[in-house]
Every structure is written in C-alpha cells, then in structure tokens.
Amino acid sequence: MSTKTNKLKTKDLIVAGAFAALYVVVLFAVVTVMGFVPILYLIAPFVNSIILGCIYMMYVTKVPKFGAILILAAAVGLLTSTGGVWVSLIWCLALGIVAELIVRAGKYKSKKSYIFSYVVFACSSMSPFWMLAYAKPAFIQSCEAYYGADYAATLDKFTPSWILLVLIGIAMLGGLIGGLVGSKLLKKHFQKAGVV
C-alpha cells in the first residue's frame, strides 16, 4: 500500500479503469441474470451491493487516494444512465462525493470508514430504478392503451413510489453486508498473500 503521495498518478488511473470495468460488468451481469424473473429484479440492488462489496473494497485499498471513488462513481453513473435514466448519473456522482468525504474523514486509512463509505456508495446499485420515478406514468399510460385499464391499475399497485425508498434501504443493507464481507475477503486473501 503506497501512501506516499495522495495524488492520483497515471498508474492509479489505469487501475481505476480496470476495476471500474470489473464493477460494471458484474453489476450488469447480475441485473441481467436476475432480470429474467421480475420479482428477483427488485432485489437485484440488494444482491449487487453484496457482491460488488469486494470489488469496491479491493479497489479503494489499492488506490487509497482522493478522487478514486469519484472516478468509480462517474463510471458507474455513466454506464447505468445510458439506458436513458440520466438521473442516475447525478445520483451516482452525489453518492461518490459523500463516500469520498467519508473515506477522507478516515484519512484513507480507517477500515471502518471504507466500509461505511461503501454503505453509501452501494446505493448506486439501485440507480436504474429511478426510472420508476419518472417513466412510470408513461408506461402505465401505454399499458392502458394496450391491455386495458385493469391491467394498468394492477401494475400501478405493484409499483408504488415509496418502493424507491425500500430499494435504497435494501441497497444500503446489502452495502453493509458487502462491505464487511469484502473487507474480510481482502484480509483473508489479498493481504495475507501480500497482493495489496
């Protein structure tokens, strides 16, 4: 762990790119697999937060410098917003800033601050669901035209707006588990093996 300079070097930027790629690939893979079953799709943020925890923890331990988390946030935001959910870019960046500040408060050393920052950062895994907030009326409307008002009403009932809060909640819970698991894995494997 090199803590000599707190500025991102080109080397760190390449590592950041690599881990961002791993992060988004896993994120999308999980969403795709779970997307086959609509109910599972709703708990995808929870599962993702757990799985992505180890990638996040490994990454921030490898690049313990200001800006690293923001870069990851920008990458995740950019990729998740490509589906048209532009809100998610802003959401991810905001989470990134908060997470960055938390780690900064821990002076890039405290393990607790890393885990805590991930609890916040993990909320990014529900960002595609922001589409529920503004695309739903259009969707319901289009369903009504296609399948009738009954169907549209059922659908409406199943996706109330407070579901977003639930999603944020489970994402944070997943984030806590993921952060703890990630930090355990890191200690168990990569620190023991001297990789980070």
């Binding site: 090199s2 080397k11 168990k188 494997h189 990569f190 023991k192 093996a193 001297g194 990789v195």
Partner: protein
Amino acid sequence: MIELKHVTFRYENAPENVYSIHNINLTIQRGECVVLCGRSGCGKTTITRLINGLIPHYYEGELSGFISVNGVEIRSQQLSKISQYVGSVFQNPRSQFFNVDTTAELAFGCENQGLPKEDVLERIEEAANRFSLNGLLNRSIFELSGGEKQRISCASVYAVHPDIFVLDEPSSNLDPASILQLKDVLQKLKAEGKTLVISEHRLYYLLDIADLFVWLDQGEIRSVYTREEILAFSPAQISAMGLRALDLNQVDLATESKRQKHTGHEFTFQNLDCKISGHSVLHIQSLRIPTGEIIAVIGHNGAGKSTLAGCLCGIRKHTGKVLYDKTEWTAKKRLKESYMVMQDVNRQLFTESVRDEVTLNIPEEQAEQAENILRQMGINELADCHPLALSGGQKQRVAIASALCAGKKILIYDEPTSGLDYESMRSACALIREVSKRTELSLVITHDLEFIMSCCTFILHIDHGTVKAFYPLDSTGKARVKKEFLSHKENEEEL
C-alpha cells in the same frame, strides 16, 4: 549508449537485505545486441526495467548507483521522455496492449507524443511494411495469436522510432514458428543499427543476432560471453547455468528414452466434432490413446489443441463419443474425472491456504491422503501459506496436488513450461512424470521441444482441426518430432 555503474536495487515490498540486483556494472554501446540471461529471479528483468525507466518511475524501491541512457541520468528524466528513445516489449502479450485493435495500437506511442495524424499514418505504414503486418491491421487484439501479438507490439514500439529496444522474455509465450518470426523482426532491427537489450533464457534464436551474453546469477553479473564463447560450452554446461538449449538439434542427446509402462487400457475418440459459431474447428474421425502415457499435443497456435483438450475434459460441447475401453464416458463423467492445469494458474486458486486448496470440495476419506500428496509434491512445508503468495512453480504444484487429491484420472497441462528456466523445466518434467503414474492419462499442450524430449512418451500432432499424426516417442518418433520443429518454415499468415 547505456551505462550502469554500481547499481543496486531492492523492490519496496521485498524484505530488508533482499536485493534484486547488486552492484551491476554494464556498458552497452550503440547498435549492440546484448542478451541478459540466467535463471528465473536472477535479476535480468530488473535490469531491463532500469533501462526503460520503469525503475524507479513505476516500480518503487531502494535504488543506488548511476544509470544513464543516451547520456541522460534516468532518474532525472520523465517516463514519457524516456519512451521516446527506449521502446519496451514485454513478456505477456495479454496485458501490454492499451488498445483493442491493432492499428490503433501501432499508433498509440506516436499519438502520445502528439505527432500529427499524417506522420503517424506514415509511420504505421512504414512499420507494417517493415514487419509484413498488412494482414494484421485493423484486427481485434483478442483474435490474434501470441506470436502475432508480439509482432504487433514490436512494430508499435518501432513506430515511435526509438534507438533502443528493451525486450523482457519476448519468446516465453510463443510457438516455434512465432519465435522464428520474432527472430526475423530482431534481425531487421539490428540491421537498422538499433540497440537491443533482451532478457531471455531461451537463447537458440538469438545466436545469430546477439553480440554479447551477460550471465547473471543471484542479482550479480557473473560473466560476459561473446557468441563464440557461449557456443563453445557443452550442452551440460549450458544446462548447469540454468539456460535452455542453444541448439534444438542437440536436445535429445542428453536424455534417454523413457517409455511408460502400458496399463492396457485406452481412450477412444469416435467421430468427435466441435463447432464454434457454425465452423467446425475440430474433427477427429477416430483416435485411440493408450493410458498411462504422457502425450505431447503439438501444432500451430489455433490448430485446435485447446479445443481438443476442452472436449476431452468435458467443458466444450461436441458431437461424437469418447470411450474408456468399451464404455462411453459422457462429458459430465469426464469433467468429473479430469483437471486442467492452466497456463495462468492464478485463475484456479480459490482458497486461503495450500491445505484448504487441495482439500477443497472433496470427500473426507480422500482428504486424509492430502498430507501425503503435499509431501510428495514437495510443498508440505507451505501447507499454511496462501496460494497466491507462492512462486509460479509452487502454484503449479498446488494446482496439481489439488487434482491428485480429488482423484482425477485425466490431467491436462496447458503449456506448463512456458517461461521456465532449465531447472524449473526439469522439475516440471519430473513432477509430470511422477503424477502420470497415478493417473490414467496426461495430456500436455506444449511448444517446448526440450520438454517434450525429456518428458513425453507420445506425440499427438494437431493441424487444422484434425489429427495430423499420432506416434510414440521412440527413436524414430524423436527424429520425426525434431524434424517437425526444426524444419519449421515460417507459415504464411492465414488471413
């Protein structure tokens, strides 16, 4: 001109007093070709990193002494400046491309320097002509063979027009035909008056090019030989220095024929056919492989060797049957009975200690013999270490031990000796022979003639997705396989 004076270096994560190189003094004149050779870990790679500036600008540590390249002290120079006159080619073609297509990769170095578009295109054209790359332009790097990748990386370095080329074990992932192509590239560079510094333990392809051979041992320069001096050594002396054979023609003289005992069983392939996106990449009408043998699978890159291995061990979908004597083994059965030791062993280590690794997912009663197997593999003292913290050779042993503990019957090795020095290669040989006594079938995908001669008992030659030949490695077989390797004319690029 490159000058190293009293250079000593320790990597920052290395223990105190463990120096990678110690008091190195070396002067390389303009236009010379110098080969740094020696065992793995002798410090040859470290010296290449000193010349291209990765030490101290990328790999940090404790550095003392004086290093100058073209009259400039390397420490005072930025890496991006150094890159204009020192070009580097690395060992692993998989991780040295910044781009995903070849033309962009050729342009990369020049673009970094901010050369105008027209100049860059001209230089790509020049490099492509120089190294006959026209068939390789505009291709995805993921579809190139190792040899093709290595040619692209040489050419992309060339496009920047550096005076000095630094190559770190460039041949370790290449098949014989690709090594010849590499040799051709190096010869052209030398003819242009470029300075070449090559770290390598496989010397046979460098004999016509190199001016000096610097032999390192334990971080120090032991001696410097001219071409004549190194040719005067006997094969045994070369082996004792940890180096690979100088002349592939001589390799079997030192080793005796060691046919395995026939166990009387056999594996039979019937009408095996494997398709990848509609194209048949492997078709075997009928093939009978006796058990208990160590079979070297040879052939060009892309001939279908890995596909064959994948089909045999049941991870590749195929039509046709595989029989063990008279009973059919389904893909599922074969997957259960087989194990592949991959080239990059990192991908197949999962747990936190060597003991956990070998006992992973196997029944209790089999687990009891784990200690025994660890001892036989010579890794019992490492039982509590983390597998990822071990050296490459040790990792390989852990992987093999885990296969033995699980009672696997078919063992497949994917280029187990690529990048190994002489001694490591010999110990891999001994290991594979030992293991073959406990399994039904050992299949080794390899390009290493020296290894084949000292370890294998049968040759399976795959070409264009079919079996070109299958023969025992007796004296006629040895002559035949040697001919196969030595008469290697550069294959026309298949476009």
